[in-house]
Symmetry: C2
Subunit: 363 residues, 2 copies
């Protein structure tokens, strides 16, 4: 049997394990302790179901539960109320009760929507995350953020809601398109940059191995990213303060995603570029040295991620950042870097932000 690492997310009575390893999807005993009721509904999408739906259903079969599957359309563009409602329709149509367990099988969009559906269905049913993308394994399956997009903003409607368990099967990443793998590497880079200089160095030395989908490198990257995120989330479950550092690169990144229309750039691509922009602003305001900024640009580029932002126009960038969830009364808050492993959260003078946009946005 393949090796497995478990990271524990310590949230008191909402604590849960993250199991990381190859070929975990088929292991019945990983699911068994987390399914209390008589019914399970798998929520997945049209891309993932043909790849892994059957393996998961076979793993659940020995538990003797009533298992149903909801297959959603694939993509960030469908992370909306209409798609969410397909989950509710299926649950109510099947008379799913309050003890029904939802299993999210797919990437971040599937996980966010399934988690939000679990948070809201009958005011809360249990759910398990089975993330099948690198991005969702390192990021969106840890921390309990769930939600959907609104035409006026990303993840504007949602809940903090913790899963019973996360089962991160590294083997599922073999079928991941290169572009989506890179999007996950972006969050790995982010995690190293904000929290652990040694891990950031490890990423610089192993980014090619991650690009090539080497299992040992992936397992370590997922484990270390989950550990870091888990410790940040445990200290600040509802994003009162510390947790905001996880949004490094996201203020600019969300503006890119919203400005281009969700789904044009992948979230991780926008975050990759957003880190380059945040690093530029960090240097411009005197917090970060130029050599560190260059290291960020290099590792983002080595991860096959964009380092030039799309030409949306400066006014549009400012407008989009003002509606960001981190903004307060229209004042944009930036997560900036002092050095690898040390961040600060601050407003920035408009001139500096404009200069950063001028320096990083494609002509």
């Amino acid at each position: 049997m393949a090796s497995m690492i478990t990271v524990h997310v310590d949230l008191g009575e909402r604590a849960y394990p993250i199991h990381i390893g190859a070929d975990l999807l088929g292991r019945t005993e990983l699911f068994a302790p987390h399914i209390a009721g008589a019914a399970v509904t798998i929520v997945t999408n049209t891309t993932v179901d043909p790849l892994y739906g059957e393996t998961l259903r076979r793993a659940l079969a020995p538990l003797g539960k009533q298992v149903s599957t909801v297959v959603l359309p694939d993509g960030e563009a469908y992370k909306n109320w209409e798609t969410l409602n397909q989950i509710f329709d299926a649950l109510l149509g099947a008379r799913a009760d309050r003890k029904t367990t939802l299993i999210a099988l797919g990437g971040g969009v599937t996980g966010d929507m399934t988690g939000f559906a679990a948070a809201c269905y009958m005011r809360g049913v249990p759910f398990i995350q089975v993330p099948t993308t690198l991005l969702s394994q390192v990021d969106s399956s840890v921390g309990g953020k769930t939600g959907i997009n609104h035409p006026l903003g990303k993840n504007m409607i949602g809940a903090f809601y913790q899963p019973q368990a996360v089962i991160a099967d590294i083997a599922t990443l073999r079928t991941l398109p290169q572009r989506e793998l890179a999007a996950g590497v972006a969050e790995v880079i982010k995690t190293g940059a904000i929290a652990d200089a040694a891990f950031f160095e490890w990423i610089e030395g192993n980014v090619e191995a991650l690009n090539r989908c080497e299992p040992e490198a992936l397992a370590y990257a997922v484990k270390r990213s989950c550990e870091i995120k888990a410790s940040v989330v445990a200290a600040d479950e509802r994003e009162g303060g510390l947790r905001a550092i996880l949004n490094f690169g996201h203020t600019f990144g969300h503006a890119i995603e919203a400005g281009l229309g969700y789904g044009e750039w992948l979230h991780g691509e926008a975050v990759g570029c957003g880190m380059v922009m945040a690093a530029d602003l960090s240097v411009r305001l005197g917090y970060l040295d130029e050599a560190s900024r260059q290291r960020i640009v290099r590792v983002v580029a080595a991860g096959h991620l964009p380092t030039r932002a799309p030409a949306l126009g400066e006014a549009r960038y400012m407008q989009l950042m003002q509606v960001d969830k981190k903004a307060e009364a229209g004042a944009i808050k930036f997560i900036l870097l002092k050095r690898f492993g040390e961040t600060l959260i601050t407003r920035a003078p408009d001139e500096a932000v404009h200069a950063t946009l001028a320096a990083t946005v494609a002509a």
Copy 2:
């Protein structure tokens, strides 16, 4: 200054006060401690805004906040995603940030939707309940249940989310239609029946005073109902066990509402009739004596509430009750009465339920 009673709901860090009294709506100092951010959005409806919107806005004016108002269509038929989304549209259109306080000004539908909007907007913003119906003052503003209906079931989509404060202005009940006042009396009767025999007797002696909207009787009924509900909720915030007793009359009642189509009977009317049905089943299964059942029928009738259930057909009643949130794997759970102040939660043989339906449903 008019007298005011305050009931404290003890939920640890989510504790909040319920202020009860006449003419509280205009008292700035009751709102001031609970509004931390720079903006307030009042959510109300087309009936209530012309009556009390201006009074509330005048009360808020001295606080120097940016105040906006969202006016929704009135009625249970609008307790759905489309209407909820009007709140999100308004908040995002106004770039409302995470510290924006929502104020629900209206009845249970307004409170449930506003509370759910507050729970979901940016994953949670603060809100204040200003209930303007007797039903919402005694029931839906206490306990943190928020949500919307789904075509296949009432309150199926929602969250447990506590307000910062509840301000129950008895004076607003003067403009309440008689039928809606009676719907509130139903929940008062329910609270007495399940939890406090002495209060049940008080209701029997004062139901006419409540019908006539006498302020002292109303204030006492609201206070005692809130105290009882608050103590039940404090013991069981997320409806693990005890809290379910608050659903006395609701299993049958929800079936009536869903079967007729939401909005046909008021929630309180359905609960009034549902209590008569639950009392019948309680006697039939040997838990309750016949004299107590008759007292329930009498006080429900004296409250101008229906005691005969609509003719939906037995099969439809069974089907509707099986999808109730309290059902588990299709098995219906009933909240039954042993005596005034003592309940039990149990399944019931189909024959007994059929007999109750035969005895209580109109021919």
